[in-house]
Assembly symmetry: C2
Homo-oligomer: 361 residues x 2
DNA sequence: CTGCGCTGCCAATACGTATTAGCAGCACAA
DNA sequence: TTGTGCTGCTAATACGTATTGGCAGCGCAG
């Protein structure tokens, strides 16, 4: 039988002073390393069952919570991921982040979020590296603006941007463009337009090439007046559509490289009184929530954004937790599966219809 | 004159092994604490100018980067903020987060993002506390679900949720409701409806009360059939509007407690062929980007979301960096300024117009 | 009774930084 | 010459955990 220290009753004051592994060890009557063996995350440690029980009981009684900072220092790992995104207010980007957050949180990793619209990616990366970050999820924009050796010594996974330097999770962007083209061709459209970003982001390029190549195969002309480059947002879409509506012959259908552009394009049509989809069809790409909310609802090629983020996080974690140069075959297989292009699919909604004067059979 | 170690030329191999303050000290020919005094963040330290120069030169030559983890351990602070949000995919929330991110990044703090839609707030909080987080930004939903003593010992700032326990940044939510009511009354509407969330979030309640009290003062009845409670998203808005359109007399104007609800309401009207704004006016609240993208554009009461997030972050940083019980008068004044309710303003757009049969003078 | 291997625990140390206390060295006045 | 005060630096230690090496104690075979 033993008395609790009269100065405090352990159970009641669990929050007052920081309780460390030493306190737990003292209460359990073992040394600090022994307590550390039990409370650390190495279940392989050889500790007698009775001792383990005593330590766990003491930890519970004191309300022990491991200090991740101290653990990080000694292990040289922070159990945290950095995510560098081009713009926090882009809904597609946030869907990707949401997918990544779910995975990283469930694996016990914290997520440090960095917005490039406020600070350059290089500055964010400096902060992340100083924090001994375990890995970085990089959007295409981030990968483009960063010098490659700023990223030396850290695990990197790229989101929808191929590279022979770092692994990444791609989407089948070429198919996205092709699906849009096939859909519009099938509706009888022969005078087509395209709106994409001026920046050189691979996924956008592939969407464009899938669209262009399908038109080419069908023998459709793609004059440059109907091939517009703008900033990839709503304003850009409006500008592009204003220009396209002035072109003669006027396009009867337009494919936009993302939904924000498409929404801007649709808005501009409504502003100018152009009938949608009676006079003009618009197809977007991404399937952000907003696409279903405008009128008419936007026909678009859905990119599985959350899944994209989730897979990118899983792939990054795989590299973090198995840093070996030549890992297990099953690990390699898992990585290969995660690196496979994500399928896309066409969602036909109200913004696309048969070309004017074409009766569909 | 001294030779560099023949084993490596310092400038070239800056990335190979982790360079510590000891390496810098050795190269500069001073002790580790001296180098630490120069490279740490205490400019008050008394170091001779010549020594300081030598240390800085050595640090630059070696590409020294401070290890924030080690610094955190000894200082007992992590230089990181936690942000716990109800849903990463809510655009209003993300605007708030974007504002907070900008401030925290510019002050050298990292931002750990936690999404309650994937894990309960309590679980996130456990992770954050284990990481010695310096402070937490909490949305109303987070504050509601957390037991108060889970937050003991950490700085907390609430976003748009009053509490006598923690500081927070409020918005003038009552005025938001009042503005909406005055606007609609001014347009001649006398049969009004309201749609709000079923959850008990203070800001929503105040918007509702501002709206209700203004109607009451004008002698307008508010029967419960025209007072709907749904989940605060697009689907909820659709459901509520479907119900409201069946009420007799049918309302000629509806105020929705946030824009997502309002967008759902507008969508439902279009689906059922109800003319907007000719037969029915809809007013939202928040002014998310989407509000300008639907047709007709949504009349709404703008809440300055980014400013809200930015102020919350600044307020939190004030508490973190001045933990004194009785701080400076200027600090108190700054806190008071940051705690003042954020003004809101009405943005009249296309979704509201004069009541049917009312000619405006 | 000795030698060997195994189990279970602990002493010592490391991680990279910040901070406290104190020691030289110097200038200056008494 | 001694005392005093200041400047500029360093030795020692702390932060809380993980890990290495080694030491008792025990069972068992020779």
């Amino acid at each position: 039988m033993q008395f609790p220290s009269p100065a405090m009753t352990p159970a009641s004051k669990s929050g007052s002073a920081r309780v460390t592994v030493r306190d737990v060890a003292a209460l359990a009557g073992v040394s600090q390393p022994t307590a550390s063996l039990v409370l650390g995350q190495h279940p392989r440690a050889r500790v007698a069952a009775a001792t383990r029980e005593r330590v766990l009981a003491a930890a519970a009684q004191l309300g022990y919570r491991a200090n991740v900072v101290a653990r990080s220092l000694v292990r040289g790992r922070s159990f945290a991921l950095g995510v560098v995104v081009p713009d926090l207010r882009n809904p597609f980007v946030m869907d990707v982040v949401a997918g990544a957050e779910r995975v990283s949180a469930s694996e016990g990793y914290a997520m440090l979020l960095c917005d490039q619209s406020a600070r350059p990616a290089a500055a964010h990366l400096e902060t992340l590296l100083a924090r001994q970050i375990d890995g970085v999820l990089l959007d295409a924009a981030g990968a483009a603006t960063l010098s490659p050796d700023a990223l030396r010594g850290v695990n990197v996974v790229l989101i929808d941007e191929p590279s022979n330097r770092w692994p990444g999770v791609p989407t089948d962007a070429f198919a996205a463009g092709r699906l849009a083209a096939e859909h519009l061709l099938g509706l009888g459209h022969r005078v087509l337009g395209f709106v994409g970003p001026a920046s050189d982001v691979h996924a956008y390029r592939m969407r464009e090439r899938g669209f262009a190549q399908t038109l080419r195969e069908a023998g459709i002309a793609m004059p440059s007046e109907r091939w517009r480059r703008v900033s990839p947002n709503v304003t850009g879409g409006q500008q592009a559509m204003r220009a396209l509506l002035a072109v003669r012959p006027r396009p009867t259908a337009v494919f936009c490289a993302n939904d924000l552009i498409a929404i801007g394009a649709v808005k501009q049509c409504l502003t100018q009184g152009v009938g949608l989809p009676s006079e003009l069809s618009v197809v977007g790409c991404d399937d952000i929530e907003m696409a279903r909310l405008i009128t008419p609802e936007l026909t678009t090629v859905a990119i599985p954004a959350r899944e994209l983020g989730a897979r990118a996080a899983r792939l990054l974690l795989s590299y973090i937790e198995h840093p070996d140069a030549a890992p297990d075959a099953s690990i390699l297989a898992a990585r290969r599966a995660l690196s496979r292009p994500l399928p896309v699919r066409l969602l036909v909604r109200g913004s696309s219809a048969a070309a004017p004067g074409v009766a569909l059979t």
